[in-house]
């Protein structure tokens, strides 16, 4: 399956759903499911066909669009985005599965979901930054609509309002950064590959780097929930329908990081060095501060939302470290966290639907009545506090290793946040939610049936696969990370390297 086919599949699905009249609900569901399944399979095949150890782009496709302005359609994958594409399509499939019983206007819902999927895939696949931005916006708009129309909770309108403003504003600031890059580079293009070659010859002046980077950091950082631009996230996810929360927390949030990796790091190296420490401080804001906030949350979604922000802190720390290990770790976390966030929000959505509340204080002992969902939730929580075997662990570990040389203090804090604070709130959630005596006797049954388990099993399987065998990802990522990282490799002390050689 070529990349353009992969990208077009969800849009074709959306078009098909649009053409089927509104009362054929089963057909809509079926089309959406099949479309995302095909997309997922296609992404798996691309991932499998991707050759590890090559730094450059693979499966490139290119078409001119506005040659005068230098905009063109350019698809391609390298180590940085191949994992994200796979993750996005798996999450999209799972999100479609869990929205099986949307009752209100299913047709519109599925169209939006498919557009969102296509947008997310497009953002990851596009090498032309203009199209990257376009696809990102294309995916964001359905998010807002879905939250507003299908959302839950009393706070829904306020949360939707907030997330819309934040993300739109963030995207706008990011866009101004990209526009500045376009005008300052002099390359007359936003094509990443061309820009990379161009800027390798003529780097941006320090002054323009120092203008562009803060714009990118604040703009795209807001999309990720960089402290202190994070407060849209938790209430937003609490208000969003499951599928939207899964897609946004899992996939769309990563676009911001992806742009920072792709653009900020290789194109503004001097400014990045300059801003690394402040960025690491903000990352601690995510890890520690959001962790502490999560400690106090008594609502399952707010807890998950804040923990997801805490995980993003690790990404920013790796970004600040800017070396190969750190960058590889960032990509690993992005993939892992995408799967994990989708899994936890999907499960939490199921739980809320069955029990009718997401208030942890009102729940308890659910492992007894919901063995599958509860068990999967335990696994998700454990993965969330960095237990090995799940993909998050190698990612966080790699980031800590990568950042150790530059920011030992921050690594200590991050390890504290990840290992302990994360452990405390995750285990507390398990204890209060799943363990202990059954709090509400009225819950009978409601565990996921065999078919309902499919999305969760897919996500769990992917998490476990990348957790046990992170090499399958990191071998793909590392050569490409080498190209965008600032510090090419951390040199071991000479004597040690020599003795290590002698040992071989």
């Amino acid at each position: 399956m070529s990349l353009s086919q992969l990208l077009l599949t969800p849009f074709a699905g959306a078009l098909l759903v649009l053409l089927v009249p509104g009362n054929y609900r089963v057909v809509h569901r079926f089309i959406a499911l099949v479309t995302t399944a095909i997309t997922a399979l296609g992404a798996v095949s691309v991932f499998a066909a991707f050759q590890p150890g090559i730094a450059g782009m693979q499966f490139e496709e290119q078409a001119a669009w506005v040659p005068a302005a230098g905009f063109g359609f350019h698809l391609g994958v390298d180590g940085v985005n191949i994992g994200l594409v796979l993750m996005a399509s798996l999450v999209a499939f799972a999100a479609t599965c869990v929205s099986w019983d949307i009752e209100k206007q299913p047709k519109l819902f599925y169209i939006l979901l498919l557009v969102m999927t296509g947008g997310a895939l497009g953002a990851f696949l596009s090498l032309d930054l203009f199209f990257l931005y376009f696809f990102n916006e294309l995916a964001l708009v359905p998010t807002f609509i879905m939250m507003g129309v299908w959302g839950r909770g009393e706070n829904r309108n306020y949360a939707t309002f907030q997330i819309t403003l934040y993300l739109t504003l963030g995207a706008l600031i990011g866009l101004s950064g990209l526009a500045l890059l376009y005008s300052q580079s002099g390359a007359n293009t936003l094509d990443w590959v061309t820009l990379k070659a161009w800027l390798a010859e003529k780097p941006l002046s320090g002054h323009s780097q120092n203008l562009i980077l803060p714009l990118l950091l604040v703009g795209f950082g807001t999309l990720v929930g960089l402290f202190p631009f994070h407060s849209w996230a938790a209430p937003g996810y609490a208000a969003a329908p499951s599928a939207t929360a899964m897609m946004h927390a899992g996939v769309l949030k990563k676009v911001g990081l992806y742009v920072l990796l792709r653009v900020a790091l290789p194109f503004c190296p001097a400014a990045m060095n300059h801003w690394a420490t402040p960025l690491a401080v903000l990352a601690m804001g995510n890890v520690l501060y959001c962790g502490w906030v999560a400690l106090r949350q008594r609502d399952l979604f707010l807890l998950l939302g804040n923990s997801s922000l805490a995980h993003m802190g690790f990404c920013f720390l790796g970004l600040a470290a800017a070396n190969v290990i750190g960058v590889t770790g960032v990509v690993l976390i992005m993939v892992a966290h995408g799967l994990l966030a989708a899994l936890s929000f999907g499960l939490a959505g199921h739980l809320t639907k069955v029990t009718g509340t997401s208030d942890i204080d009102k729940l308890g002992g659910l492992l007894k009545t919901l063995p599958f969902v509860g068990g999967a939730l335990v696994m998700a929580f454990l993965a969330g506090c960095g237990v090995p075997g799940f993909a998050n662990f190698p990612g966080e570990l790699t980031v800590l290793f990568g950042a150790w040389k530059s920011f030992p203090i921050f690594v200590i804090l991050a390890a504290w946040g990840g290992l302990l604070i994360g452990g405390v709130y995750m285990l507390r959630a398990i204890r209060d939610l799943l363990h202990g005596p059954l709090r509400d006797g009225s819950i009978q049954g409601g565990d996921a049936g065999p078919w309902r388990r499919v999305p969760f099993l897919v996500l769990l399987a992917a998490l476990l696969y990348f957790g046990i065998n992170p090499g399958s990802l990191s071998d793909r990522i590392a050569p490409s990370a080498e190209r965008i990282a600032l510090v090419k490799s951390i040199s071991a002390p000479a004597t040690v390297a020599a003795t290590a050689h002698a040992a071989h």
Binding site: G389, P394, L420, G436, I490, T499
Partner: protein, 653 residues
């Protein structure tokens, strides 16, 4: 030992591979396969689950013994890693297996105890609805533990380290409906996490200094340049020790182990007596090379002077040993007495490592694994017989009602107390005392002797009160012996508690740590009295003292006389010296307070001032600007014209 038979066993298994050490892969993966099989296959049938799990572990045990016999006398071999875990830049982590005397010995212990405990569990947990989950978790635990044992680099060890923590969490919280069990599981995991935090930082320090995480390469690096760790040498050692402090429940992270007794008793036997808690000691021995490097502190810690990391480890170990022994004096719950005894013995082992005797520590670890598992399983049989009564004061007179249990329990007690000549415990404890003397730590030696006196005292208190005298409750009166599946493991575990079983192990281990080691002349059963009479005599003397005191105080007693005699001290012992209370009063509220503060800041400052403030100011501006919308056409025209005027004025300037 029949070396010939061992050769045969290896020949049989070498159909799979050309080298005996590759056998370790099968040993490692068998329990994982069982766990996966239970999780995805036979979950619905408890019988199939238990059969699968037990047969996998027994097979692993047989393979381990074969490996031990074939390989145990050789040197170190690292199994080639078919599997690179992660390779990025200068961070290279492979999944490789370290097969040497240390690890094969541990393989035998882990698989052996695990197999016996699982067989025992089929009877102990008969009819429990979660039996499949139980066996799945036990298999997972066995796998993780074997992973720790076989890991050839720090990162893999950390991975399995965490996995052991998780499976222990699952097993302690096996009866998760019980709030106390759920809380204990959480507490165990989090306390361990605190240790892991240090361990991880230690790994980072070592990696950044030596450029590698593999034990062999770290050893080579430190061998070539003993000061490679620079001023962080001692810090690195202590950070690594933090991990051991968590898993092996050393002061101040010891609080989780007694609570972990909320799990099923066989789990306590396997995890919280024989294997997981020994992992810390094992890890210290495995990474001993780090501690051999000359100690050095960062400049601003100059006041620590010549104190090495090992000294601190020894002090912590000795202190834990004494503290736990004192607490064990006044516990009434049969499992808690054993738990504190375990703590105390772990402290002993850690102290041995700190005194420069990792061989002694490993020796004691090995013997302790056998007799402590035996004691826990015996306690399980007693509890089972008394209908889940755990208070020893509500038992009594059980010795003739539970003959097998009593006899094996007595053997275990003797081994723990260190009865000379007859039991293995004596020799390993003696090795530790010798290590303390040889290492030049007379104070710690004295402390060790003191603990050696305390140990028989509290163990005999348990035996006398629970097994002798008159039955004090109906439950004890109607107790009857456990089924075969429970008694046979007891008998099997009694064997390694007897002196001859592990004979020669001390020399075997010493040779591992010191290539120039020569076995003492005049070894044999009376060896300790010959070459280190001081330690042996003091050990024996303290035993006699402890036994006498226990018989004097508790023979025929129906209530505990100690509280009256010791008063406040007894209360403190009974309440575990208030550690839990203090921790609960300090750490939990502290984190909660910070959390509350952060939540408040998020609510009032970030969302409040930031969001709502921005929202409010925008709205205010909107309200003000709204007044301009008079609805009057001419106002609009005027504003429009004024705007145009400004534009034209500026444009034509």
């Amino acid at each position: 030992m029949d070396a010939h038979a061992a050769q045969h066993a290896v020949a049989a298994s070498s159909a799979f591979s050309s080298r005996p050490e590759d056998l370790a892969w099968f040993i490692l993966l068998l329990p994982l396969i069982a766990a996966a099989g239970i999780a995805f296959g036979v979950r619905r049938s408890p019988f199939l689950s238990s059969t699968l799990s037990i047969s996998a572990t027994v097979t692993a045990f047989i393979l381990s013994v074969a490996l031990f016999l074939a390989f145990g006398l050789g040197g170190y071999a690292s199994s080639p890693s078919p599997f690179s875990w992660i390779h990025v830049g200068s961070l290279n982590v492979d999944l490789g297996l370290a097969v040497d005397r240390l690890s094969v010995l541990m393989l035998v212990i882990v698989t052996g105890v695990s197999a016996l405990v699982q067989i025992y569990s089929t009877a102990y947990l008969h009819g429990d609805p979660g039996l499949s989950r139980y066996f799945g978790s036990i298999s997972l635990f066995t796998f993780s533990m074997l992973g720790i044992v076989l890991a050839d680099n720090l990162v893999m060890m950390f991975v399995f380290w965490e996995l052991v923590g998780v499976s222990s969490y699952l097993l302690i919280g096996f009866w998760f409906e019980k709030p106390s069990a759920a809380d204990a599981a959480k507490k165990a995991f989090l306390t361990n996490r605190l240790g892991d935090f240090g361990f991880l930082l230690g790994i980072l320090v070592v990696w950044s200094a030596t450029g590698s995480v593999s034990f062999t390469e770290i050893g080579n690096a430190l061998g070539g340049n003993p000061t490679a760790l620079g001023g962080l040498a001692s810090i690195a050692g202590l950070l690594i020790f933090c991990g051991a402090m968590g898993k092996s429940a050393q002061f101040p992270l010891h609080v989780w182990l007694p609570d972990a007794m909320e799990g099923p008793t066989p789990v306590s036997a396997l995890i919280h007596a024989a294997t997981m808690v020994a992992a810390g000691v094992y890890m210290l021995c495995r990474s001993y090379v780090l501690f051999q490097a000359p100690g050095a502190w960062p400049a601003h810690l100059w006041f620590l002077g010549d104190i090495t990391a090992l000294d601190i480890i020894a002090i912590i170990g000795g202190f834990t040993a004494l503290l736990a022994a004192l607490i064990a004096f006044q516990q009434d719950d049969i499992k808690r007495i054993l738990a504190y005894s375990t703590l105390s013995q772990l402290g002993y082992m850690v102290m041995a490592v700190g005194c420069g005797g990792p061989d002694a520590a490993m020796y004691h670890l090995t013997t302790h694994a056998g007799f402590k598992a035996l004691l826990f399983l015996g306690a399980g049989a007693v509890i089972h017989a008394c209908h889940h009564e755990q208070d020893i004061w509500k038992m009594g007179g059980l010795w003739h009602r539970l003959p097998v249990t009593f006899r094996t329990f007595a053997i275990g007690t003797a081994a723990l107390a260190g009865v000379p000549i007859l039991t293995s415990g004596f020799y390993s404890k003696d090795a530790i005392l010798v290590a303390a003397l040889d290492g030049g730590h007379p104070v710690l030696f004295g402390l060790g002797v003191l603990v050696a006196a305390f140990t028989p005292f509290y163990m005999l208190r348990l035996v006398i009160v629970a097994f002798f005298g008159k039955p004090r409750t109906d439950a004890a009166r109607h107790a009857h012996e456990a089924p075969m599946a429970m008694t046979w493991p007891l008998i099997a575990l009694a064997i390694p508690s007897i002196a001859v079983a592990w004979f020669g192990l001390g020399d075997f281990l010493s040779a591992h740590f010191n290539p120039h080691f020569h076995a003492h002349e005049g070894g044999g059963l009376f060896g300790p009295f010959n070459h280190a009479p001081l330690a042996a005599v003091f050990g024996t003397g303290s035993l006699i003292f402890g036994v006498t005191a226990a018989f004097g105080i508790y023979w025929g007693a129906t209530t505990d006389p100690l509280p009256e005699r010791l008063g406040l001290l007894s209360r403190a012992m009974r309440n575990r010296f208030y550690f839990d209370e203090v921790y609960e009063a300090i750490f939990v509220p502290m984190h909660d307070m910070v959390g509350r503060l952060a939540a408040a800041v998020d609510r009032w400052v970030v969302s409040g001032l930031g969001i709502r403030g921005a929202h409010g100011s925008v709205e205010l501006a909107g309200r003000a600007l709204r007044l301009l919308q008079t609805g009057n056409l001419q106002t609009y025209t005027f504003l429009f014209a004024a705007g145009v005027a400004v534009v034209v004025f500026v444009a034509t300037k």
